[in-house]
Every structure is written in C-alpha cells, then in structure tokens.
Subunit: 279 residues, 2 copies
C-alpha cells in the first residue's frame, strides 16, 4: 500500500472504547493505517481490545504509544483530555498529528491556546455514538453519514487538518467546521441538555417506583426511547456537564421554559396553543 492510501503509518489510540474502538475498526477496514497501537486506562479493556483485534498491540504507557504514532487519537473523558493534551503536545514530533473526539471544546482549546505545538492538534467531534461503552461497544461504520465537527481549525497546521479531514471522510463522515463557542452551544442544545433530560426522566420514574406509585415494567417503547441515552457512563458525562456549564444551563432553561408553556396550555385546556406548540 502507498502512504497516500494508508494516510498514516502508525495510529495510536488512547482510550479504546466505543469511539476509539469504532474508529480503530474503520481505520483497519478502510486500510487507513499500517499499524494500530492502543492504550487504555483500564488494563482489562486494553486486553479485550487486543483480543477483539481492534488494535495490533497495546503500548505499555501512553508516552510509548505517542512516541511511535504519527496520528494520536485521544478518546478519553473531557476532564482528563484537557489535563493531558498539553503533555502530549509537549513531546510532539514534527509532522505528528493529534486529534480528540470529545464533546466539549472551549475548555480544551483554552488549555492549549498558547502551547508552542498547538498547531499539531486538530479538535474533532464526531456526532455519533450509542449508549454503550468499552471495547465491546465498538462497531463498524459508526461514523458513516454522521457529521464530524472540526473546531477552530485556524489554530491547526493546514497539512494536519487536511490529513485529519481525509481520515474522517474515508470513514464516511460529513465534515463541518465551526468555532469552539459555536460548537459548545450547539452540543449543549443537541446533545448535553437532552442527556440531562434523559437522566432526569429516568430518575423521575425510579422515584415513582420507589414510592410505589408505579410499576415501570408496563412501559412501552416510548419511555425506552426517551431514556436510552441515560445508560451512557456517568464518568464521561459529568465532566462534559462541568466544562459546558454555561451553555448547558442556558439550554436546560430554554427547555424548562418550553415545558412550562406546555404545562400551562394543558392546565388551561388551551387547545389552540397546544396545537401550535405541537405543530
């Protein structure tokens, strides 16, 4: 295979779960790298990723992975990412490219704004996922026909952006670029706030069950659909809520205002307003 076809010689993936593992699968399927090295904070997950064939080998330490990879994919909770990215960039070699796949960008890009190797980093957010996690959650074609948002690319090396764009296109993603602020406001409305609603709905049902006001086993498909995403891991979502607090609270408030309007329309039998709201 020529380098043009493979895009990267060695890809290193730190965090081989749903997103990192699915990207590893696609990189292999589409022949985008010659070798994939992985590392995972939970050693059992790293072993499982190797067993599943998601990666060719497991690095002893993330530093060893980064020393060998020409593309480093950082797929970790956003609080750890903001803390670790500067350290990865400290050791960046010429031509080496770093990407993340995290759900918040303002705090992350603030953390590396003045880093001498900032340009080696391309901030990415593939708008794809499921409620599952860990290497066994990795699936083929997770990114196909989904948007991948590239954030504040003006701060990245143009060649790095071109290579990363090629990667996402080859796995089937549709690309869009925006600023970190646009991203975090968009993600708050389209993803973070809906997750808070799903968690709050799950909790409401559990509390009603605990108070014996309800037997939730009677639920139809609607409730399952509304609470599916509340099965996503807490350790991933709590740092997202914290980093995107301002936009998230604004989105929650916008929703709460709409809910209050619906409540009022239902209470006052305002059919005209309900029809307008539900249109």
């Amino acid at each position: 295979m020529s380098m043009e076809e493979t895009l990267f010689k060695t890809v290193g993936i730190v965090g081989i779960g749903l997103i990192g593992g699915s990207l590893a699968k696609d990189i292999r399927t589409f022949g985008l790298a010659q070798r994939i090295i992985g590392w995972n904070r939970t050693a059992a997950h790293a072993e499982r990723a190797l067993e599943l064939g998601l990666v060719d080998e497991i690095a002893e330490r993330p530093e060893a992975l980064s020393a060998e990879a020409d593309l480093v994919v950082l797929a970790m909770p956003v609080n750890i990412l903001a803390e670790q990215l500067p350290k990865y960039l400290d050791a960046a070699r010429p031509g080496q490219v770093f990407i993340d796949v995290g759900s918040t960008k303002m705090a992350l890009l603030d953390a590396v704004a003045h880093h001498p190797n900032r340009a080696a980093f391309v901030a990415c957010h593939p708008m794809a996922g499921t409620e599952r996690s860990g290497p066994d959650a990795a699936i083929d074609n997770l990114f196909r026909n989904r948007f991948t948002l590239l954030i504040d690319t003006d701060g990245s090396d143009a060649e790095a952006v071109a290579k990363v764009s090629a990667l996402w296109k080859r796995v089937g993603s549709v690309l869009a670029t925006m600023t970190a602020e646009e991203h975090d406001r968009t993600a708050a409305l389209l993803s973070h706030m809906p997750h808070v609603l799903a968690y709050a709905l799950s909790r409401t049902i559990k509390e009603a069950e605990r108070n014996q006001a309800l037997n939730a086993r009677f639920a139809g498909g609607g409730l399952a659909s509304m609470t599916r995403i509340a099965h996503s891991p807490i350790s991933m979502w709590q740092p997202i809520f914290a980093q995107n607090k301002a936009f998230l609270l604004a989105a929650v408030d916008a929703f709460a205002a709409q809910l209050a309007t619906f409540r009022q329309a239902i209470e006052t039998d305002d059919v005209a307003l309900l029809n307008q709201l539900m249109k």
Copy 2:
C-alpha cells in the same frame, strides 16, 4: 376452523390505523376471526386498509359494522371514544363484546359507569406503538411481548373478559389488570409525560434554530431518540393530555423537580449529588 380456534366470527375495527390495523394483521395471521370488517373516519384510510388487505371489507357506517361484528374494536382518539362508546353500547346485542385500545380510562369508564350494557365493554390498553399513524403504519407482531393492561374488569362480563384475554394472549401480549385510577397514573408517568417532554424538546430545538443559535442537522442519534415520539399525531395526543390532566400535570411537576435538582447540581459543581442522581 372451529369457533374455539377462531375466537370470533366477525371482528369489526373502527379506526384502522397503527393499532387497529396491526391488531387486524395479527387477528388474520393467528386465525382469530373468520372475517374482519373495518370503518374509518377518513375514507381514504379505509380504502387503503382494504387495499393493504388489513380488512376483508369496509362498512358503509360504523353502525353497520357494529350490527355484524361479535367483537367491536374501537381504535379512535380518546375524546371521540368517550363520546361514542355509550352509543355503541346502546345497540349492543347479547354476547357482543366491545373493547377499546385507548390511553386514558377514568373519563371513559365514567362515561359508561351507569350504562345498562357496561358489562359488554372490556377496557384495554396495549402498551405498544410507534410514532407512525394510519393504515400504512400497521405492522405484524406489534403486541408481542408487550403488556396489555385490562382496566376495571370487575365491571365487565366474565365471559367477555375471558374472550378478550384470549385474544391478547394469542397475539403475544402479557396481561395485567388494574383500576382506571392506577392505569391513568401509570400511563401519565410512563407515556403521557414523556410525550410532553419530547414535544417540548422538539420545540426548544426548533426555536433555537429559528433564532439562528443552532443548526440542528448536526444532531447525533441521541436527539433523534429523544424526539422520535414527538412525531405522533397531535389529534391523538391533545385529547389524552386533556383527559388525564391531573395525573399528567403531577408527572410533569415530578419531572420538573428532578430537572431542577440536576440543574442545581450542575450549577454548583456538586459531583457527589450528580453521581447519586445519575446512578
């Protein structure tokens, strides 16, 4: 076929949409009736149901359907149901059985509480559905492994309850019985309130788009999952909200209180509380 196998000679279905049409499909598949007659308020839907083979024939008027059927399935919006059921019961013949498939029961059973033919009616709520509607939305096995709730069966003829129970079991439903009050409280929490949330979330996103704060095409699967049920028809849901107002408002308030607790935990960075809430 023996009568024992077919359960009913002629089933009449008033409202051959998602629920009525899916029940018609299963009745045919499992050989539970010799003949299925349909009627639909929207004539084009009736013709389509005939074209799809959901029914053997279309009645000219619902009265004609009821005059021939030994089981009459009333699959219509709950406001029309509460208004029409007494009229159907007025003309009930000995041994004839009526069921509904509606989402509210207190108002409905109040409407026939003192009807001389109340016992011919068995109130049913199959906890199954999709966001689609009309005869083209009818699917096989919609009720399989889903609960069907039988409500206030003490007011129904024991033989009618036995026949109706057999019908639901034959299409794969799991039966449970409860009072109308238990039902309406349960349905408010598990179905009606989640629908209000889905509608309010859809509206929040649309308003943000209208204010150009957002491009909703970037949404991932989570939002789609949370708003799927907001595609259900307004004409069906507005009367449900109206009939189950008290329990619905209480459920909305219980949710709003949980959401306020989440909001507070996010605002104050109360990680311990968030972890507890999201557990």
